[in-house]
């Protein structure tokens, strides 16, 4: 069950410019959280910014009762968060949302992350490995300096390949190109992906072409985080047609093929 905790910040550092790792003690959340779930953080007592901000769980230390999130400074809230000193309590609500499933039949799975979208894939990769499922991480960034999650995969010994838009490291191009290449040369039974919508759309196309099952994690503007406000709607397919699903409570993890993208959703 979700709860709200006053979580003591024990570690907070800028990994690469504008990307931060933040670790805090939240035993109840740490105990329950599954890969792909998120926490909703109240960044300040002030009424501006007003709403909580959602962040995927990057890693968990179940013994210590701590949770790490990995975030990028993009606006007012994340800017403020980046100034949060350690040893202060943070108001954290979680765990929220549906987790990734563990494809126990799979032999090898691909984890595809674009930018800060690698956040939920670290904890997932650890759980998959512990279940004896081989994982290969494909991660992309605009340039080598922003490949921030590498150290975590290195730390946990998860094999990974990278792409950068400017070719400063790994394949020059999008991470979806990397995925296309890898699908040609390596076995993949299941795909997990998180990143910008355009990336997720391409991942969906690639997976469906090759008939590979998988799951993607979406983002969206949120208010409540618990399915009450209907603010975080995303169009999904249903038997008969389409409907809006709540990213926070029916997602953020959706099956590949279930989600409808821009082209249908946006003006």
């Amino acid at each position: 069950m979700s709860s709200v905790e006053k979580a003591l910040v024990i570690r907070h550092r800028e990994v690469v410019p504008d990307y931060y790792e933040l670790e805090f003690i939240a035993p109840e959340i740490a105990l329950e959280v599954l890969p792909g779930q998120f926490v909703n953080i109240r960044i300040s007592d002030s009424l501006d910014p007003l709403l909580r901000r959602p962040f995927s769980v990057y890693d968990v230390d179940k013994k210590l009762g701590s949770i790490t999130v990995f975030y990028k400074v993009v606006g007012k809230g994340t800017k403020l968060l980046s100034q949060m000193p350690i040893q202060k309590p943070l108001d954290v609500m979680g765990p929220l949302g549906r987790s990734f499933s563990i494809p126990t039949e799979a032999d090898q799975v691909f984890l595809v992350g674009g930018g800060v979208g690698i956040a939920p894939l670290v904890y997932l990769s650890r759980v998959l490995s512990s279940e004896g499922i081989k994982t290969k991480v494909l991660m992309g960034a605009s340039t080598a300096g922003f490949l921030a999650g590498k150290s975590m995969f290195e730390k946990f010994g998860v094999p990974f390949l990278v792409s950068t838009d400017d070719g400063s490291e790994g394949l020059k191009g999008r991470v979806t190109q990397l995925l296309a290449e890898q699908l040609l040369i390596d076995k993949c039974d299941y795909i997990f992906a998180c990143g910008p919508e355009s990336m997720l759309e391409t991942v969906t196309e690639l997976a469906m072409e090759q008939n590979i099952k998988g799951e993607i994690s979406l983002e969206g503007h949120m208010a409540c985080g618990v399915g009450a406000c209907l603010g975080c709607a995303h169009l999904v397919k249903t038997g008969e047609g389409q409907r809006y699903a709540k990213i926070c409570s029916e997602g953020p993890v959706f099956k590949i093929g279930e989600v409808l993208f821009h082209s249908q959703d946006e003006r």
Partner: protein, 318 residues
């Protein structure tokens, strides 16, 4: 606090009266949750004893299921947020068949919130909900920006408001609470029309109509262009309207709009509201309702007020 202190306090609390009568609806306490901000209550069960609330006003219900608006549906603004959900809901039959029994079994005081495209739809919704066990009253959302008739919104024309309330009243034995739009020149005129139509109490306010522009994309942020502004930003406007209506119309008021804490709740009660609703604040702090109920009790103890009804309207001119 010593053990004896705690005991005395507990005893004192037991003697406090928090019960209020909102136009025939008996509420355990004046703290309710606003339609559309608390789902059907279940979503907040990990955080709140929902049966302990004055009432749960559920998400707006229509005759037929509604899909709602495209995304983005919400955006934060300074001390507030805009929403354009578009009344997404599964329709009245699912509400009666699935949600209502579950709420009833939990002992929740339920106020149903209804919306339609025509006056007739409102009347049919009222008829359909009449006699359904477990509903304490009906809130009429006559202030939804989607609902238009003859080019004008129902909620902004006194004549239509009066007719609408009368039409609904004729179909139900439940207390009827029209929820007024703040997007009007004279809120007291609308409130009076609702009174004349037979309303049992009034809820005010719904959201202020607003918008935001995405400077990079050079277009409105919300897919629906316009949205409803809620949260602490609108509190001064909401409070003003409660204060005005409380002086002009002899109906109990459910006050809401930007209430974030106990002091805000007290402001509304003192402005003349018999009960209050918490909306956007639930998103910020999911346990806020419980905290405000406790906060009101503490305030009453400190100020030696035995009955919450004694402070209702305390700030109105004598």
């Amino acid at each position: 606090m010593s053990v004896t202190d705690k005991k005395t306090r507990k005893k004192a609390r037991a003697q406090l009266n928090l019960q209020v009568n909102l136009g025939g609806m008996q509420l355990k306490n004046p703290v309710t949750v606003a339609s559309g901000t608390f789902g059907y209550g279940f979503e907040y069960e990990p955080f709140v004893d929902i049966a302990g609330l004055g009432a749960v006003i559920v998400k707006g219900t229509t005759l037929e299921p509604r899909m709602g608006n495209p995304s983005p549906r919400i955006i934060e603004t300074p001390a507030g947020m805009l929403n354009a959900i578009g009344l997404e809901n599964p329709g009245v039959d699912v509400f009666i068949g699935e949600y209502l029994p579950a709420l009833r079994s939990r002992g929740v005081t339920v106020i149903a919130n209804i919306a339609g495209n025509t006056m007739e739809e409102y009347a049919r919704l009222a008829a359909r909900l009449d006699g359904q066990p477990g509903i304490a009253g009906l809130e009429l959302n006559i202030s939804c920006p989607n609902v238009k008739q003859g080019g004008l919104q129902f909620g902004t024309d006194p004549v239509m408001v009066k007719e609408m309330v009368a039409a609904v009243k004729s179909q139900t034995s439940l207390p009827v609470m029209p929820k007024l739009s703040p997007n009007v020149t004279d809120i007291t005129a609308i409130a009076r029309a609702a009174y004349e139509g037979g309303a049992d109490c009034l809820a005010l306010i719904n959201t202020l109509m607003g918008m935001a522009i995405d400077v990079d994309k050079r277009r409105p942020v919300l897919a629906n262009t316009f949205g409803g502004l809620s949260g602490p930003a609108i509190k001064p406007v909401a409070l003003r309207m409660v204060y005005q209506v409380a002086q002009e119309v002899p109906l109990p008021i459910m006050g809401l709009g930007g209430i974030m804490n106990t002091r805000d709740a007290l402001e509304f009660l003192m402005a003349g509201a018999t009960a209050i609703s918490i909306g956007t604040a639930n998103f910020v702090d999911p346990m806020i309702t419980t905290q405000i109920i406790a906060g009101l009790q503490e305030y009453m103890e400190e100020c030696h007020i035995a009955d919450i009804n004694d402070i209702i309207g305390a700030a109105l001119p004598q």
